[in-house]
């Protein structure tokens, strides 16, 4: 029983990170129509940036740039605390993973009413590019990431509760409630939801659709940075960590229902808990097995997800 509670609790903490990641994935899909298969790498990039800012104030120049390539500049950047690094990383990511990503890839590949497959493949390519870039410049070895919550462990009735897990759950809850408040209670949030539900109608109603779509990208960039801050102390920062993270976010969004924020939330927690259960009671090798099987069953049985609204077929 104690083991069960233990496993479930840490599963909820893992699931909270997946939930944040899945909400970003689902928001992009629903509002912008963009299916982003580089989502896992979107979480790894801010983790690496924060690590560089806190631990090694060094800027490396990629080798393919002639003459100065391969050198490392030891900049006058002082070592930062993790929270300060986070504060710097969020706007940087909003620019890179929000603005640049939207303008260079999504706007080019997503035509209104067009096929979404080209963007799917392009984001797979982006994932490869980001992974390779990080592997070569940042290195293949996993790096320890400082925990913003300390390393205290409490013992509650035989269940070990770590400060990291508690911190993850608290921060995730705050972020999710804040996001829900923003989406449901503010004027801009309502406009965003209208855009997500029906772009044409929103346009006719005078909602600045393009700006709302950009806000979605910005929120997604902020969410992946939060997810990076929460997950990297547990998984360490590694160049290929994005594969399993992206897979979990995507599985969670599909299971829960990609067109509802609460669906993706529920899916995230569900995937986290199931992964931990099957990792403990079946075999650690099969951690990722059951959620994927569940996802295939959900697609077979309810393609809109457990919480999703059925979509009208657009011809």
């Amino acid at each position: 029983m104690e083991q069960f509670l233990q496993v479930t609790f840490s599963g909820l903490a893992t699931g909270a990170v997946f939930a944040i990641a899945a909400v970003g994935f689902a928001l992009l899909w629903q509002t912008a129509g963009a299916i982003n298969f580089a989502h896992g790498e979107f979480i790894v990039l801010p983790a690496v940036v924060m690590l560089v800012l806190t631990q090694q104030p060094v800027i490396g120049i990629p080798e393919f740039i002639p003459l100065i390539g391969g050198t490392q500049l030891v900049g006058p950047i002082p070592q930062l605390g993790i929270i300060a690094a986070f504060a710097i990383t969020v706007p940087l990511m909003i620019f890179l993973l929000g603005y640049v990503f939207k303008r260079t890839m999504v706007d080019q590949l997503l035509e209104p009413g067009g096929d979404d497959i080209p963007l799917v493949i392009a984001t797979l390519g982006l994932a490869l590019v980001m992974r390779e870039y990080l592997r070569i410049t940042f290195g293949a070895a996993p790096q320890r990431f400082p925990s913003p919550f300390g390393n205290h462990v409490w013992n509650v009735g035989g269940v070990a509760i770590t400060a990291i897990d508690v911190g993850i759950l608290v921060v995730a809850t705050v972020v999710i409630i804040g996001l829900q408040f923003f989406l449901n209670r503010t004027y801009t949030g309502r406009q965003m939801q209208a855009t997500a539900q029906n772009q044409e109608t929103a346009r006719v109603l005078g909602i600045p659709v393009n700006r709302m779509v950009f806000y979605t990208f910005a929120i997604n960039a902020a969410l992946v940075t939060v997810a990076a801050l929460l997950v990297a102390p547990v998984t360490t920062a590694r160049f290929d960590g994005g594969i399993s993270l992206g897979l979990a976010a995507f599985t969670a969004a599909i299971i829960g229902g990609f067109n509802q924020v609460r669906g993706a939330l529920f899916g995230g927690f569900l995937v986290g808990v199931i992964q931990n259960w099957s990792g403990t009671y079946l075999s650690s090798a099969y951690r990722e097995f059951i959620p994927l099987v569940l996802m295939i069953i959900v697609i077979l049985w309810r393609p809109q997800g457990l919480f999703g609204r059925p979509e009208e077929r657009v011809v």
């Binding site: 890839m105 490869l128 070569i136 005078g206 090798a285 011809v315």
Partner: protein
Amino acid sequence: MSHRDLIVDDRDLTRARSEDRGVLSPLLIAGLALAMAFLVWFPIGRSEFTPIMWLWVLMLAGVVAANLLIPRASRNGTAVRVMSTVCFVAFLVVFPFGRANSTLTDFGLYAVFSVCVIGMNLMFGYAGQVSIAQAAFLGIGAYTSVLLDSGREIEAFGIVIDLPDLNFLLTVVIAIAVAMLFSILIGMAGLRVRGPWLAFVTLAFNVLVYIVFNNEVGITNGSRGIIVRRQDLEVLGIDMTPLQNYYYLCLAFLVLTMVIVWWIVRSPWGRSFKAIRDNSPRASSLGIDVRTYTLLAFAIGSGLAGGAGALYARLLEYIEPRSFFLGQSFDFLFATVIGGLGTLAGPLIGTSFITIISDSLRVLGDWYRFWFGLLAIVVLIVAPRGIAGSFNLLRARIAAKRRGS
């Protein structure tokens, strides 16, 4: 304020983006031609750059020029097409002959992977549904074939089973059948609703297959892999121990696949595939059973990968689960896109980027895969028809200009 935004949005909507992108594709072709010219200064594969290479370069230039300048529809156009195919096959037959084993392995991988990419192109380029599990089918084919002709003992769920020692060609057929069976099961889930669902289901399937390969140690020997000796392997009375003989078997398989796919694309099936890709509601109103035909394209494409897997195992004489993970499937996907969707030549061009060219470009060192991924993105944005499609576009423009003058 909102009114101004409305106008801006409308302008964005009416801008025909695909037209804009088409304009740039001849530019991309010119860039690639430059890159290819640069390439011939480097040794192809790991073999030496010999004077005879100039003969091949000359032939390539001749084929390209003939294809570019002679209109496709004329009688000469047919002759050009036949000649190009013959030159291509002749290159694959003659060039690797008597060369080092590393070159033969490169070309063998080219033949085997080409079959996978042709299968993917049949599904994606002609039927319009994307599968991300081509490497999984390659792996299923490889393990099926290896387990069935080795006579080894496996242990599954505590039961020890003695496997048969079947004829190699028979195991290839079984590998194709098993891959098709799996693809039909997967396709029934993924093709229920139109949309990107098949991509999701196949992505999940590839990870599932990898997990099984890696952990069912009793059957697959896990991450340590299985060594597959080519000794005593005889196909139609020919000893396959020398790599060179085996390479020609792979090449024969590639040529056979090309013939079959060429025939499928021209058959009523192929026309149905294209009709579904271009306008699926219209196709179904014309009486084409959209789901069955898409499933059929998926099954054929996956079956080809299964057969390729059986050949792949003996080519490298070693298989391990890592070779069949997502990265390999993505490579096939990028090769399909770079080569050109929905064309017969596209997969043959695209595959060279993940086999022969990647070895010539050792100069880029570690960065090769980075540039490869970037190339896939750039092609998708700038020239969505890929190299072969852009080439066709260029030829059409040249023909139009001539008619005009």
